[in-house]
């Protein structure tokens, strides 16, 4: 099964859904999940094939790389596709009034997501990115509430402005190099090292940053997550923000390796972490806390990306994976405690298992050793100390101070949950939504198997830098060098 | 450490009785001195002994529970143990097993015992007295510790017999008082407070808190207190002579020295009124501590 089916099948189903809905009204319910399930199976098979015979490069339309669009079916792309399909399947919204249209949007979202994960063509990335963005605008406005509509519109304006700037960046790149294929662009670093190239990178970072919740561009995050259905915000925070980061990862890994433009991303990331955690400390209700905390985590990932190098990428991937598993579960668990944080007193006893899991997942976000979050943060600090020459102390200081603030607000909530106060009902049922349980089980599996997952991530990162096209930037730390330079590390 | 038992046992019995007798004479001297200053004759020679015997032969005395009695036993036991460790010409085998630091802490055991006993009889006057006594102890122990530190620095050792040996081997100018005059002076002042003599005698103030700790003591309890006073006079004077006056080559000079040492606070006590508690602390932490610190600095410089 070649991977482009992953894109075509959901889109085909999406196109047919409105018509099918007229024939049989119940189609809106089962059509979407069924197709996504099929898509998941295909993605898993494709992923397994890649495990066996290594990454493939597919030329769409039969035209070789620089001419046509190249899809890269490598570890990163396909595992992202599998995770996306899984997440969409598990977090299928229930309370939206118009089920059929939401299913269409989700189908398109899945198709576009898979395309985004695998595409290796700059403009194609932009088109799929825009497709995912429009789908998310639709999702944000799905439940029809007044505030959700406003949030969606404000998000649309930010997104549209961002995409215009990104397109401007792509125009600059194309004007400078004449090609759009990432591997080709990778080879033209001296053309891109001029002001136009760096300017293009900054514009693209701003453009794609809106979706990736980077610092100045993420005002929409608290508004949208606060007013959508918990499953939708779980889906968006969980996997869709990762797609934005995925685009940046591909760009940085293959094209803009060591370019000075990354310093912009670095400081945007750090500011994102600091303001995200501080805002979460100041937030009044649970949803906003979780929204701000995901801004903070995405900031961390941005810092890891900006540092580049093999440790930087692995750190980014682990932090993303950890956040992907933890945040949806937190959103679903927090669904039981709506409203302001003050009203939380004693609620922990109402859903004891939910409260305990909330604490466990918060621990992983903070980075407490045995849990995967810790390894992500450890590698991030390692990358900072290796790659950043001056100002490393300040950077680490800011990040760690933000982590302390993070621990402060998470455990202020935990103290309220387990504290005294009229527990609504002393029900002994664990009261944990089934889907959240699935995410938690995946999380526990990850924390047990961190070693094996770590090795797989190393392979993913190796897959990112196609060996046959040597990295143009000399100062891009040659993965082999940084490995044995560290003694017995790898 | 070879324990020659029989020598130990002899010392254990002889030294406390010796200390008791000398202590009685010291108490007598103190009362005689006070009498002379007040131009009167003063009590006969055996008076202190008769007082104690009278108290012990009393029929009715009040006890406030087991802890009250046990604390008196601890008091006496602590005092006796202290005497054994004091280096006295002729008998100092035990002195080798403990040193100056041990002695300082051993001195606190009887004080703590008395404190527990007095509190056990649940009389607020007693408790207030003990609180003042411990505050005074905190006050006078600071300069005293500095002098001990100075001595340790000067002699390089804290074992009392060796300190005596070092001082005697250099003759008169080897004495502590000569080597470190300031520390000797500071030690003298803190000794005054240690004995609870006049300017620092707040914790037994009869007018305010009915003699403080001694309020509930009657009969043999009060008798034991008197015994404690004898031992205390003896111990403090012997410790002072050991550290600063070269200890006793033979009994004659040793007795003269300790009587002179005791005479000084006894005379001073009669001419001073009584400090308030915080005044005691403030004064002791100001002047004697300053003198001691300068003395220590001088010793350190050498």
């Amino acid at each position: 099964m070649n991977p482009e089916i992953l894109i075509a099948l959901p889109l085909l189903a999406a196109f047919l859904l409105p018509a099918a809905r007229r024939i049989d009204a119940s189609v809106g319910i089962w059509w979407g999940p069924l197709v996504v399930l099929a898509n998941l199976v295909i993605a898993a098979m494709a992923w397994w094939k890649v495990q066996l015979i290594g990454p493939q490069s597919i030329a769409l339309g039969g035209f070789a790389a620089p001419l046509g669009i190249e899809l890269r079916a490598d570890h990163l792309g396909l595992s992202a596709a599998v995770l996306l399909n899984l997440a969409v399947l598990l977090l299928w919204p229930r309370e939206t009034p118009d089920k059929a249209r939401v299913s269409t949007i989700l189908l398109v979202l899945t198709g576009a997501g898979c395309g985004l994960a695998m595409s290796a063509d700059l403009f194609n990335l932009y088109v799929f990115f825009e497709l995912v963005a429009v789908a998310t605008y639709g999702l944000a406005a799905a439940n029809g509430k007044g505030e959700a509509l406003i949030a969606s519109l404000r998000y649309l304006i930010l997104g549209a402005l961002g995409s215009a700037l990104a397109l401007l960046g792509i125009a600059l790149v194309y004007a400078k190099t004449g090609t759009l294929n990432l591997t080709e662009l990778g080879g033209m670093s001296e053309a891109l090292s001029g002001p136009a190239g760096i300017g293009a990178l900054v514009l693209m970072v701003v453009g794609f940053g809106v979706k990736a919740e980077l610092f100045p561009l993420n005002n929409w995050v608290p508004e949208v997550y606060a007013h959508t259905e918990s499953r939708v915000s779980a889906l968006m925070a969980g996997i869709i923000s990762k797609l934005g980061i995925l685009v940046l990862l591909r760009l940085i890994a293959e094209v803009f390796g060591g370019s000075p433009g990354l310093e912009f991303l670095l400081w945007v990331g750090v500011l994102g972490v600091v303001t995200g955690e501080l805002a979460a400390y100041g937030a009044k209700d649970m949803r906003r806390v979780l929204a701000y905390s995901s801004i903070g985590q995405m900031g961390l990932v941005a810092v890891a990306l900006a540092l580049g190098g093999e440790t930087g990428f692995i750190a980014a991937l682990i932090l993303m994976l950890n956040h992907l598993l933890v945040k949806p579960a937190l959103f679903l668990i927090a669904d039981a405690w709506p409203g302001s944080l003050k009203a939380l007193a004693g609620k922990g006893r109402a859903r004891p298992l939910g409260a305990v899991l909330f604490v466990l997942l918060a621990l992983s976000l903070i980075g407490v050793p045995p849990l995967p979050g810790f390894w992500g943060k450890y590698l991030l600090l390692d990358a900072i100390f290796t790659n950043v020459t001056e100002g490393a102390g300040l950077l680490v200081g800011l990040i760690l101070a933000a982590t302390v603030v993070e621990a402060a607000y998470f455990f202020r909530i935990a103290a309220r949950l387990f504290g005294s106060g009229e527990a609504a009902e002393e029900s002994k049922i664990p009261g944990l939504p089934a889907v959240a349980a699935l995410f938690v089980i995946a999380f526990l599996a990850l924390s047990v198997q961190t070693g094996r997952v770590g090795d797989y991530l190393k392979e993913v990162v190796h897959g990112l830098q196609p060996q046959e096209l040597r990295m143009a930037q000399s100062d891009f730390p040659d993965p082999a060098a940084s490995v044995n330079g560290k003694g017995e590390r790898l | 450490m070879d324990f020659d038992w029989q020598h130990m046992l002899i010392e254990l019995l002889v030294m406390p009785t010796l200390a008791f007798v000398v202590g009685l004479v010291m108490v007598l001297m103190a009362r005689r001195l006070r009498a002379r200053i007040e131009r009167r004759v003063g009590p006969p020679f055996w008076q202190p002994l008769w007082d104690i015997l009278k108290l012990y032969s009393k029929r009715t005395q009040v006890s406030h529970g087991h802890m009250h009695e046990i604390s008196i036993i601890v008091l006496l036991g602590g005092m006796i143990a202290m005497e054994v460790f004091l280096p006295v010409p002729g008998f100092d085998t035990f002195a080798h097993h403990g040193d100056a630091l041990t002695l300082i802490y051993l001195m606190m055991v009887p004080t703590l015992g008395m404190a527990l006993g007095v509190s056990a009889c649940a009389n607020p006057n007693g408790s207030i007295g003990i609180a003042r006594a411990l505050t005074a102890m905190l006050a006078y122990d600071v300069p005293f510790i500095i002098t001990v530190a100075g001595a340790a620095m000067l002699y390089g050792t804290t074992s009392l017999p060796e300190i005596i040996a070092i001082q005697q081997q250099q003759g008169l100018e080897g004495w502590g008082a000569v080597q470190m005059p300031l520390l000797a002076l500071a030690a003298l002042i803190s000794m005054q407070a240690m004995l609870g003599k006049e300017p620092f005698e707040i914790y037994v103030a009869p007018a305010e808190i009915a003699t403080g700790p001694m309020t509930e003591m009657s009969g043999k309890f009060l008798g034991s207190m008197f015994i404690m006073q004898c031992f205390q006079l003896y111990t403090v004077s012997v410790l002072y002579t050991t550290l600063f006056l070269g200890g006793g080559e033979n009994w004659a000079t040793f007795l003269i020295k300790i009587f002179v040492v005791v005479a000084i606070p006894m005379t001073l006590t009669n001419i001073f009124p009584r400090y308030k508690t915080e005044a005691v602390v403030a004064w002791l932490w100001k002047w004697p501590t300053a003198i001691a610190l300068v003395g220590l600095f001088v010793v350190m410089m050498r």
Partner: protein, 141 residues
């Protein structure tokens, strides 16, 4: 002077001007429709720049005409990209305007500051419901 007014500077200058004007509308104006229009102007500017990137002096449009002389041709790719970008712009704009219509009907206003206050008001606070009643036309809430 003529070097300054050469086709290249004119085109790129025009595109940049469009972008700046659009940005001004988006950044400085409070009414949402104006903001959306600003976005449209920016996208027009960017598209113009993209097309200008493919221009070659003296080259013909990329249509193969058996009769016409076969001279150098302009780069077809930017034109294809622009086609796609225009459609994306249209789609986003359509969705934005629909949302704007719905919000206007519900809240009676399209002023960014007022709307932000509604969105950021703590959940279920009286403030957001008050805004609801104040919505357009005298209708019961």
């Amino acid at each position: 002077m003529n070097e300054l007014l050469s086709i290249g500077n004119l085109l790129y200058g025009g595109a940049a001007g469009l972008i700046v004007i659009g940005l001004f509308a988006v950044v400085a104006r409070r009414h949402l429709i104006r903001v959306l229009l600003g976005v449209a102007v920016i996208e027009a500017g960017v598209n113009l720049m993209l097309v200008a990137a493919g221009f070659r002096p003296g080259a013909a449009a990329p249509i193969f005409d058996p009769q016409a002389i076969s001279g150098p041709m302009v780069d077809p790719i930017p034109q294809a990209l622009v086609l796609t970008a225009i459609v994306i712009g249209v789609a986003v704009l359509a969705l934005g305007l629909t949302l704007a219509i719905r919000i206007h009907r519900q809240y009676g206003t399209l002023d960014t500051v007022a709307l932000t206050r509604i969105v950021n008001a703590p959940a279920g606070s009286p403030e957001s419901r008050a805004m609801m009643q104040r919505g357009g036309g005298g209708h019961e809430s």
